[in-house]
Amino acid sequence: MCAMSGGVDSSVAALLLQQAGHEVVGVTMKLWGGDSDTGCCSVSDVDDARRVAQQLGIDHLVFNFGDDFDEHVVAPYIDAHARGVTPNPCIECNRSVKFARLAERADLLGFDAVATGHHANIVPGVDGRFTIERGSDAAKDQSYVVHMLDQTQLARTMFPVGGMQKTDLRALAASIDLRTAAKPDSQDVCFITSTGGRTAFLGDRIPFRPGTVVDADGTRLGEVESVELVTVGQRKGIGLPGGGPKRYVLDVDMASATVTVGSDADLLRDELIVDQMSWVDGPVDGAVLVQCSAHGRALPATIAAAGDASILVRWDEPQRRIAPGQSVVAYDPTNTRVLGGGICC
């Protein structure tokens, strides 16, 4: 079963599976019933996926996992913002919908594996264990967003395009006239429109509270309209006049609706705690590289267990504070293999 979003990556994933002789069924998940940039329930994306499947001569189905998406992705996203936490909904979708709900459905229907168009590689070891490696196209690597897969899941998951360069992938799609060949990469959270953005989405769902902006001494510097939209590390849009020293959000206290700001240096931290850890092939400690956003750099650090499913990350060099709710993923020192990941506290 190939999850087909209607983008070029999953289109080519289906093509490669077919070329490799697999019996492929394409599935597009209907996840979001509200507004999106491609129309209600992303109908035009579903159209693209279906048309590609038709071109390939494979069956195409649409599964409605809207309830699961609301429960596991959208509601937690809204709730987290109300708590002053900044989650990564694409990772939650992978964790709870794509590699859980869809994979269970695939299992139930007798499929051997679920394939997606992610740029990451699943590499079998000699001992029957699997590792997740970075996608071959460094600029498109998505190993960060699939870090949560465990051995059982990896044994039944395929990333057919993980070994490809994006330009080759597009050329391959174009060579057989797939209609998605030149389709732009999706950039943002699928349920948030580019016109309304996060502000409009959250504003319709949670009450925004004005917040006071203070410096480290508690001196009042200004105000923000909605404390729910402020993220640790943010510099712009925090209600401060221009011209002064650059100030960053150091902390957001939701209870008192207070945003503390300070200099770049004030934001630096030696360590951070990560919980809800999942490991690709068992817990690891010691020297690793740690990546804190989808396209951020992996930076050297030492990790150590810090209780049940938690780790302490100690940076080799102090780093800017990571916003609570962000996913933190550890890679091996060669920056190739995913070791595990969790959520920044």
Binding site: K30, V46, V62, L108, L109
Partner: protein, 402 residues
């Protein structure tokens, strides 16, 4: 010459669309080839096409029980429904009223009216709550139109339109009464319904005709504003060049359907009962959503505990059994049924909804095969499923451990 059935397929989705009758296909062929003239033209070639449309109109009027001038050919059933409601409000203003289980072609139009729309509850079988309807009509001084479907497309429930009409005429004498009879032609005598209504919608592909042809019956002359304005075809009720071939075929299909209707009801009703009984015998946890005596002979809607119909439909599809669950949204995804929700069926039960609809080509072999395939598919899903409620469990039972 025209093969209209695919022998390998067990087709139990007649409420979605019916196989075209060979006679209808034959009847439309000349108008797809040599008789291509525009029926609105003034030459003899056009007049031949015009005559075909007029004769088709006579046929439809005969079956429906109205005057030919009361028949408007449209592009589909949805257009007919839209024209009835939107057109009524455009012409006279006021409120549109319908029950919660209407087809989206009605329900979404009524909801689209915002403050000018009212949606009425239904009973456990999906029949409009007549007391609530009466109370709403009493409380709403300016009702333009009430729309109540004669046969529900999902669960097959028949609504007594004469009874609805009595309530509407008494409590809102100035309102128009429209019925979506799109699912009725194969099962009910339309001429029994027509005397009670002002407006009635049909769709040709539901009775062995082609897609792309609908009918709106407007009794007593124009009642609503047209939806499509242009060249003034259909006595200025519906502009746009006539779909001559489709209209001719629709009339042929309707006439044959009406002629065979009583016999087909008698033939399919026991087959439908065998199908439901067969499933209940073969599987635990199969509930017939609406008892046979309340619905049309072709409808066998069931809810199967412990499975999700989306998964079941995939396995049925693999085995060449065509069925459906609820209506699909624009993306093609199955939506949770608004019909079952309206009837008070809880969401977890509705997840296992399966709509099997029989029709003219359905045989005992189809029924037997469907029971086999559905039985083994449900077995497979239940055997592997751990994340879904066990058979017989209800939403209340899940997560309410002591």
């Amino acid at each position: 010459m025209w093969r209209v059935t695919e022998p390998a397929i067990t087709y139990l989705d007649h409420a979605a669309s019916t196989p075209m009758r060979a006679e209808a296909v034959e009847a439309m062929m000349p108008y797809l080839s040599e008789l291509y003239a525009n029926p609105s033209g003034s030459h003899r070639f056009a007049r031949r096409a015009r005559q075909a449309v007029d004769e088709a109109r006579d046929t439809v009027a005969r079956v429906v029980g109205c005057h030919p001038n009361e028949v408007v050919f449209t592009g589909c059933g949805t257009e007919s429904d839209n024209m009835a409601i939107t057109g009524a409000i455009a012409r006279r203003g006021g409120i549109a009223v319908c029950p919660a289980v209407e087809h989206h072609a009605v329900l979404h139009v009524v909801e689209h009216q915002g403050d000018q729309g009212r949606v009425i509850g239904v009973d456990a079988f999906g029949r409009v709550d007549l007391d609530e309807l009466a109370a709403t009509l009493d409380a709403t001084p300016d009702v333009a139109i009430v729309s109540v479907m004669a046969v529900n497309n999902e669960v097959g429930t028949i609504t007594d339109i004469a009874e609805v009409a009595r309530v509407v005429r008494r409590h809102a004498p100035d309102a128009l009464l429209h019925t979506d009879a799109v699912q009725s032609a194969c099962w009910l005598d339309l001429s029994d319904i027509t005397p009670h209504i002002d407006l009635l919608s049909l769709s040709a592909h539901k009775f062995g005709g082609p897609k792309g042809v609908g009918v709106l019956v407007e009794r007593g002359g124009p009642k609503v504003d047209p939806l499509i304005i242009g060249g003034g075809q259909e006595r200025e009720r519906r502009s746009g060049t006539h779909n001559t071939a489709g209209i001719v075929a629709a009339a042929v299909a309707l006439e044959l359907t009406d002629r065979e209707r009583v016999d087909e009801n008698a033939r399919l009703s026991p087959l439908r009962d065998e199908l439901v009984a067969g499933l209940q015998h073969r599987l635990d946890g199969v509930t017939e959503t609406v008892p046979g005596e309340y619905k049309v002979a072709g409808s066998a809607h069931v809810c199967i505990a412990g499975i999700e119909s989306e998964a079941l439909l995939f396995l049925l599809d693999e085995a060449d059994v065509c069925a459906s669950a609820a209506s699909a949204c624009a993306s093609g995804a199955m939506e949770p049924s608004h019909v079952l929700a309206g009837m008070g069926v809880d969401r977890s039960t509705a997840l296992g909804a399966l709509r099997l609809t029989l029709g003219r080509t359905t045989t005992a072999v189809d029924v037997e095969r469907a029971v086999d395939v559905i039985g083994s598919s449900v077995d497979q899903l239940r055997r592997h499923s751990t994340s879904i409620a066990p058979v017989g469990a209800t939403a209340d039972a899940i997560g309410s451990a002591p």
